[in-house]
């Protein structure tokens, strides 16, 4: 059974979103379920800092030995950081999807938009 931390929010595209900071910044990654389904991640393409992203649009991709999966912006905002460590070691996504394997940080255009995401219980329902 895949791990679904209760303190995160989720999207239907199997991404997790950390509670916004006071400055309205959220950290984003892919879920344990997603990394397990992908298998060994070998390459990650992510937007550069400064990129404006719109909710539910494709902004990058995660490639494993066997397939490729799009990265979606979970919410609308501006990318303010990308996880540079993934360039050297994409397998962090497999070994620590909710920690060192995070993808990007986004400054939300509207901090209240966070409340539209799925709760852990709702996401659990989705992945069974």
């Amino acid at each position: 059974m895949s791990s679904i931390p209760a303190d995160l929010s989720y999207t239907a595209e199997h991404e997790w979103v950390l509670t916004p900071t006071a400055g309205g910044v959220v950290r984003v990654g892919i879920t344990d379920f997603a990394q397990d389904a992908l298998g060994d991640v070998v390459y990650v393409q992510m937007p550069e800092a400064g990129t404006e992203v719109s909710a539910d649009t494709v902004v990058g991709e995660v490639e494993s030995t066997k397939s490729v999966s799009d990265i979606y912006a979970p919410l609308t905002g501006t990318v303010t950081a990308r996880n540079e460590a993934l360039d050297a070691d994409p397998s962090l996504i497999n070994s620590d999807p909710y920690g060192d394997g995070w993808l990007v940080e986004i400054t939300l255009a509207d901090a209240a938009s966070y409340s539209t995401l799925l709760s852990a219980a709702e996401y659990q329902e989705k992945v069974g």
Binding site: G39, D40, V42, Y43, E63, T65, K66, V68, N94
Partner: protein
């Protein structure tokens, strides 16, 4: 997937794979392990390159041709020249269509002049057996051609520590590449008859072990225990694919198909050109003389990214000069690699690009293997 799986065939080790957390996937109509829990493609691949891996490839076909003149008959059908080998040796060969394209690639084990054992691909076994039977009927030959798909298991022990594992289980280790022996070994107090061939599909030292279907589980359990003690692991068909791609080995349905000839695929060495007859000889001989419209090359990625099968290969001006037939991430090189069918004018060392969903991935044309082979080490 659960609906699909009920229609797929199960090998003799199905329950073992499920019990060991394997992700199962369809291969040629069979439900087989893609990778194991606690492993994954990269870990399983690396185990084979550095220690030893154990593969269940029982989905592969098995068939035999028996009767007076069985080898001579097969030599009039299959592409390679069985006169190049002796009894006790196996040979990589092709079943071609009358258009010179590839129905299947297979291994032929010469047990004797009157007894040939075949290991075709899972999805093509019925077609190979049917073509052989049609040829037999046309000749009026007194031979028995039998599809034994579910009579045997097939396991591969591959890696630099393969001999350690074979010795631990009491299995023979035939020294010559592509030689095989029949043996009876004692496993858990019971005598088990099997065949061991010095062969594989990974580029490493290794063996394929062929027990009867009903003995397969006992043999596998003994091998799996020895592999674990040796520091290796069970490896799924995901790793088998990255391993064979690093070696540039052809996979039917990718580098070979009924739309691709062995001349195009660069495996003319598996054709006995001087033989009086083999299926597809006329067309293929003409293509060899005239030059094939495409050729097979290796592509090594110069940008970060993973090539995939079936994408266009572009030259510096953006013209399509071919398409990839396989593509993956090479765990050994930490780099993208691909095999492609391209215009014959493409040269070694040439810089090309792959069209990856609209993005250009730079590649250089190389001659496989991408990783040095250790099969005869």
């Amino acid at each position: 997937m659960s609906e699909l799986s009920e229609e797929l065939l199960h090998g003799p080790l199905h329950q073992w794979h499920v019990d060991h957390g394997a992700k199962m996937a369809e291969f040629g109509g069979w439900l087989m392990p893609l990778q194991y829990d606690g492993g994954g493609v990269v870990a399983e691949h690396t185990a084979v390159r550095t220690a030893v891996g154990l593969f269940d490839v029982s989905h592969l076909g098995k068939a035999e041709i028996r009767g007076a003149g069985a080898v001579a008959f097969a030599n009039r059908c299959l592409s390679n020249d069985l006169e190049r080998i002796q009894p006790g040796h196996a040979q990589y060969t092709l079943a071609l269509t009358d258009r010179g394209t590839v129905t299947d690639d297979l291994i032929a084990y010469m047990r004797g002049e009157d007894d040939l054992f075949l290991i075709p691909n899972a999805a093509n076994t019925a077609a190979v057996v049917a073509a052989l039977e049609a040829a037999r009927a046309a000749e009026g030959a007194e031979l028995e051609i039998t599809d034994l798909h579910r009579s045997y298991g097939v396991f591969a022990v591959q890696g630099p520590l393969a001999n350690t594992v074979m010795a631990a289980v009491g299995l023979p280790q035939p020294a010559d590449y592509m030689s095989f022996v029949d043996a009876t070994v004692n496993i858990n107090g019971a005598d088990v008859a099997l065949t061991v061939c010095r062969t594989g599909y990974t580029g490493e030292l290794g063996y394929e072990v062929v027990p009867a279907w009903h003995d397969a589980a006992a043999v596998w359990e003994a091998l799996a225990a020895a592999v674990e003690i040796a520091g290796g692991r069970a490896a799924g068909l995901g790793a088998r694919d990255t391993l064979r791609t690093e070696m540039g080995y052809a996979l039917h349905g990718h580098e070979l198909s009924t739309e691709i000839t062995p001349v195009e695929a660069g495996i003319g060495w598996a054709v006995g050109w001087k033989k009086a007859a083999f299926w597809g000889k006329e067309v293929l001989t003409a293509q060899k003389a005239d030059g094939a419209p495409r050729k097979s090359v290796g592509l090594l990625a110069t940008d970060r990214g993973v090539p995939r099968a079936g994408v266009n290969v572009l030259d510096a001006e953006g013209n399509i000069v071919g398409h990839t037939t396989s593509g993956t991430f090479s765990p050994t090189l930490g780099n993208g690699v691909a095999l492609a069918l391209v215009d014959p004018a493409v040269e070694l060392g040439q810089a090309l690009a792959l069209d990856i969903r609209g993005r250009r991935l730079g590649v250089n044309v190389v001659k496989p293997p991408f990783v040095k082979a250790s099969t005869k080490a």
